[in-house]
Amino acid sequence: MSVFTDYKKEIMDAAHNERIRIALSRAIKNYRAHTNNALRKFPHTIKMAEEVRQIKEKAIGEMEELAQQACEAIEENKGKAYIAKTADDALGIIGELVGTGKLIVKGKSMTGEEIELREHLEELGNEVYETDLGEFIIQQLKERPMHILSPSVHVPKEDVARLFSKITGEELPPDIETLAATARKLLRDKFFQADFGISGANVVTADTGTLFLIENEGNVRLATGAPPVHIALVGMEKLVPTLNDAYKVAEVTWRYANYTVPQYVSLVSGPSKTGDIERVITYGVHGPREFHVIFMDAGRTDLAKHPILRQALYCLRCGGCLYECPVFAVTAGHFGDKYFAGIGAVWAAMISQNIEKAASMAYTCLTCGRCKIRCPVKIDIPEMVIELRRLIAEGEINPQ
């Protein structure tokens, strides 16, 4: 019972935290207004989301074949591709590529959070910078992300000003523009000094081996473009067969993440190359000389076999469900493990295999179902949570 008791204390502390409530009520209001606006301007998105559901349903059943195909495509583009069966395998591959004593700039990646990639690289004696502003704030605060898209959703600007003042030694006002400029100043040189740039990916095509990277800040372009080596860690559920599928997945993802269009979408398929001198193909010009992609399974192909829980793999990580969750509105990501809220319980149980945490989360879900209404691919989160409770109650999954 101690896991539950500790967990309950954590979420009740969060629920009593006025700062979290203020930050979230602002975020929820803005999310709804922006998403409504985006869907009104681009009404075809709703129909396209149904198509994306079909694409994901099919792709999740073929993850292994798609990963194989993507590896071949990436190798053909002169990148290196790997399939990691477990989280440890993924950490091992990346650890070996990076070594020790290196400077690393990172784009935000939930898959990275899932396997604690940053911590692992730091333990190996590397200096790692999170470059997404929210993630940078979280790293500096030594906290964990509280939302899949907006990791610092629970931190109001006043707290950021205090944090950045401490880092810079200057007295900074709680003015968001000033704070963003400060982050730029703090990280600018790191991009160009870094030995490695590490990213995740929002969607990956099997036919061409192309990573789609959706962002607004420009940090992902810099982190994956400036350093000499780009390493990407990709959960196998991100794979779809073709470029055409990936465009649809990407558009639906950003629209439900409350954007009409994101400022940047990068499509990366291999290392930088040129044929400009005598038509001789040479690798490594302005962009990275090396490009490594790790496709990680870590429980995903097993999860895909479960008729109800496999829906968790359809998730586009738009984060919309979290804004509709009444519990999340007062606790933020404390109602969470690596991933959050109802769907997070499924990831905790089946991917992280943290059964006690998963049970605690499963019984924190109201099964009210508003998340499902929001979800672009109509993942039935209450159905999954109830199934998870059944697996727990009937002893089909239990802590070893």
Binding site: M1, F4, T5, K8, I11, M12, A15, R32, E324, P326, V327, A329, V330, T331, I355, E356, A359, Y363, T364, L366, T367, C368, G369, R370, K372, I373, I386, L388, R389, R390, L391, I392, A393, E394, G395, N398, P399
Partner: protein, 337 residues
């Protein structure tokens, strides 16, 4: 319950689930307790169409007392888990805990079941013929399903179906959202040849009311709170609104965003309230705030769980002038029955 799941399922839920399997009602009250509200109404027990009252309203005063007790404990240093464990233990010794709650928080019993009395009066007034199983009404066991006790749920469902069949039931008019969803959607999945027609009270009412006959005693602004299971699980969203709009004197005012399928949960879903009593109360307060912004004088809903939550939310906000009523109470008033 499987041994391996010990410690993983919150005690409060195990307690409620055990009430259903051992006493056939969610509160663990003795047989006959739930049907008291219908005394003197002379509803026939044998009928092809029955009114299904459900645990929620029949035991609402006991449940309210239980909630008030666990909320107090949850905020104290003791926490909820310990008292819930003691409750389970006491039950094994044969102590009538439900009775104890009621004595601790003694209140007038009759008014608690007003939504049920009004619901049947409205149906009778509309000329709908139906019976009521009274002491023999079985619990649908919905909570077992939501807690994860599927084996127990399926077993209960089979027994319940047999019982309903033995009374010759063909059609059910159900009022509690969770029972309605359980009877309408979950039972067909686990009972072979299930052939009962299940409809929600508001659907039957809407079909039978004639325009022009409904008038509220005074002009009033009301808002409507959608219970999750009714709106999102069963898709009953328009029916209650059409009924409200048909009543002269009532002005329906709604939150801009959180209505219909987007309505915010009251914070009392699926036993959540006994696992996180204090958090559940916070969510009730949040929902009530959204509803109060409409300027409504009455919050209308159709779920005993929501009613307990919303009443508590109003109390916390000291919004004394605003009432929470079941739609059945509103319609009864508008009909003058």
């Amino acid at each position: 319950m499987n041994k391996k799941s010990e410690g993983l399922i919150p005690t409060g839920l195990v307690y409620l689930a055990d009430n259903i399997t051992s006493k056939h009602n969610i509160l663990g009250a003795p047989k006959g307790e739930g049907a008291k509200w219908a005394k003197g109404l002379n509803l026939p027990q044998e009928a092809e169409t029955i009114f299904f009252a459900g645990c929620g309203y029949q035991y609402i005063s006991g449940l309210e007392s239980l909630m008030s007790l666990v909320r107090g404990l949850d905020k104290s240093v003791v926490g909820t888990n310990l008292p819930m464990s003691i409750a389970s233990y006491q039950k094994k010794l044969g102590v009538d805990l439900a009775g104890m709650y009621r004595k601790m928080f003694a209140k007038g019993g009759e008014s608690d079941a007003q939504p049920l009395r009004d619901a049947v009066s409205v149906l009778s007034h509309l000329g709908v013929k139906f019976g009521y199983l009274a002491d023999d009404e079985p619990c649908c066991g919905g909570l077992l399903y939501y807690t994860g006790f599927e084996k127990e749920f399926v077993e209960n469902a089979g027994e319940m179906y047999k019982k309903l069949k033995s009374f010759g039931v063909k059609r059910i008019i159900s009022i509690v959202p969770v029972c309605t969803y359980t009877l309408h959607d979950l039972f067909p999945d686990c009972i072979e040849g299930y052939d009962l027609e299940v409809r929600h009270w508001s659907q039957v009412v809407l079909e039978n009311i004639k325009s022009g006959e409904l008038r509220f005693p005074e002009g009033v602004k009301v808002t409507y709170h959608d219970p999750c299971q009714l709106a999102r699980y069963l898709g009953v969203i328009e029916e209650p609104r059409q009924i409200l709009r048909a009543i002269k004197g009532i002005e329906l005012v709604e939150p801009e965003w959180t209505k219909g399928e987007w309505a915010t949960c009251c914070g009392g879903g699926g036993g959540f309230e006994v696992v996180f009593p204090e958090l559940s109360q916070m969510l009730a307060v949040n929902r009530v705030k959204e509803l109060l912004e409409t300027g409504a004088q009455i919050i209308v809903t159709q779920c005993p769980g929501c009613i307990i939550q919303l009443k508590d939310g109003l109390k916390q906000l000291k919004a004394d002038g605003v009432k929470v009523l079941d739609l059945a109470q509103i319609v009864a008033m508008a009909m003058g029955v």
